[in-house]
């Protein structure tokens, strides 16, 4: 029996030919593209074994993006959160601080309007807006085109602000180095448990709007404990984009990640 898909080689046929002959040794594994097919004798109906990831196209586009980011030593961060967690405000505050020390570019994803890209440009960074229309997430193909139009210089920090949605963007790799999940204290502290995929996929959780803590019933320690339940390794930074509290830790995190991206480029060029 085929160890990957469980098909029985004995009965397998490709238009009358046995599967054992049709299959290429060593084809299994990864996105196996072994096309051994099981005909049903009369040649009109055939079962074709595929074993291909449903999102393989997106994953291939993401791999291309990742290689292109790597060639230019670009740190790409995929910012994900629910709507209203403060992604754009965090970005404008970040841009204003990084301006002059690190090149920054932004890909903005929203269903409609260019409001966010306008805010980013007003803060002093280059930005391109993607409108997904009815789409609930960015995909790697669109991000690749946005990257073309931005043509960021070597060593740029590229922020990709995903559509505000804690569910769908988790499944779509954009080629980023890291996903950063932003959770505001105006939300429920159990969001990491309710939307575990996103917090499991993120390397960093930014706990935003901590200036509001005196006014809301939000236990930050419990939120962090919940996040670590779904992702034991997640890093956490508590900050307020409005007051600037916690911003130095966030900027350090970005600078260190950017240095790693540049070092990886130097290593591959050398």
């Amino acid at each position: 029996m085929c160890g990957v898909c469980g098909c029985g080689e004995g009965e397998a046929r490709l238009d009358g030919r046995a599967l054992a002959q049709a299959r290429i040794p060593g084809e299994h594994g990864g996105h196996g593209h072994h096309h051994h097919a099981h005909g049903q004798g009369h040649g009109r109906r055939a079962l074709v074994e595929i074993e291909q990831d449903i999102l393989s196209k997106n994953d291939a586009d993401a791999a291309t993006n990742r290689a292109r980011f790597g060639e230019r030593g670009i740190l790409a961060l995929n910012l994900v959160s629910s709507p209203g967690a403060g992604k754009t405000t965090l970005l404008t505050a970040t841009i204003e601080t990084l301006k002059g020390s690190l090149p920054v570019a932004v890909i903005e994803g929203d269903q409609e309007t260019a409001n966010d890209a306008d805010r980013i440009r007003a803060a002093g960074a280059r930005a391109v807006q993607i409108n997904t229309g009815r789409g609930c997430h960015l995909d790697a193909h669109t991000v690749g085109h946005a990257f073309d139009s931005l043509a960021p210089e070597i060593g740029t920090v590229l922020f990709i602000e995903n559509v505000g949605n804690l569910v769908c963007p988790a499944a779509f790799d954009l080629g980023e180095d890291h996903k950063v999940a932003i959770l505001s204290v105006a939300e429920g502290e159990d969001k990491p448990l309710k939307y575990p995929d996103m917090f499991a996929a993120a390397e960093l959780m930014v706990l935003n709007k901590i200036d509001l803590l005196p006014y809301v019933e939000f236990d930050p320690d419990r939120a962090i404990e919940y996040a670590r339940r779904v992702n034991p390794q997640i890093a956490v930074i508590r900050l307020s984009a409005r007051t600037g509290e916690g911003m130095p830790a966030w900027l350090d995190w970005i600078r260190q990640a950017s240095e790693r991206a540049l070092r990886a480029r130097t290593a591959s060029v050398a």
């Binding site: 595929i50 291909q52 789409g135």
Partner: protein, 136 residues
């Protein structure tokens, strides 16, 4: 929501394989979905409208669900956590971020209707070196 993207990607993949095999219609798709993909019911729901007007229209969608298993670094063994999103070893409590199974979203196989004319000159079985297989 993204189950519609998934359904569309799935249908595109299946239609490509149908075209490569000279098939007129896809009659059955077998899909492997990890429990963490959490789109099983939604995918059934989206599949039919997304398939309309494609070679997959009217095809039967079969979904095999793959249970969650994780690698416990302390026990050095594959374990089944007590809950879907409780990534800790059920035996020793060590955090187990490495998922072994449960994240799969794969098209396993398609059943195709191949007209007589096309099936008289079947494509070679050794087609894994063709252009569509060049993807990583």
């Amino acid at each position: 929501m993204h189950e519609l993207s998934l359904a569309t990607s799935l249908i595109e993949l299946a239609c490509e394989h149908a075209a490569e095999n000279g098939a007129s219609r896809v009659t059955r798709l077998r899909v492997r979905l990890g429990v963490l993909a959490a789109v099983r019911r939604a995918l059934y729901f989206c599949f039919e409208p997304a398939a309309r007007g494609t070679a997959c229209e009217g095809a039967v969608l079969e979904i095999d669900e793959v249970p969650l298993s994780v690698l416990c670094p302390a026990c050095d063994a594959v374990k089944t956590p007590s809950g879907l999103y409780n990534f800790r070893c059920p035996t020793c409590g060590t955090p187990t971020p490495r998922v072994v199974t449960g994240r799969e979203m794969q098209l396993v196989s398609v059943e195709l209707d191949i007209p007589e004319a096309a099936s008289e000159s079947p494509p070679s079985a050794h087609r894994s070196d063709d252009s569509t297989s060049a993807r990583p």
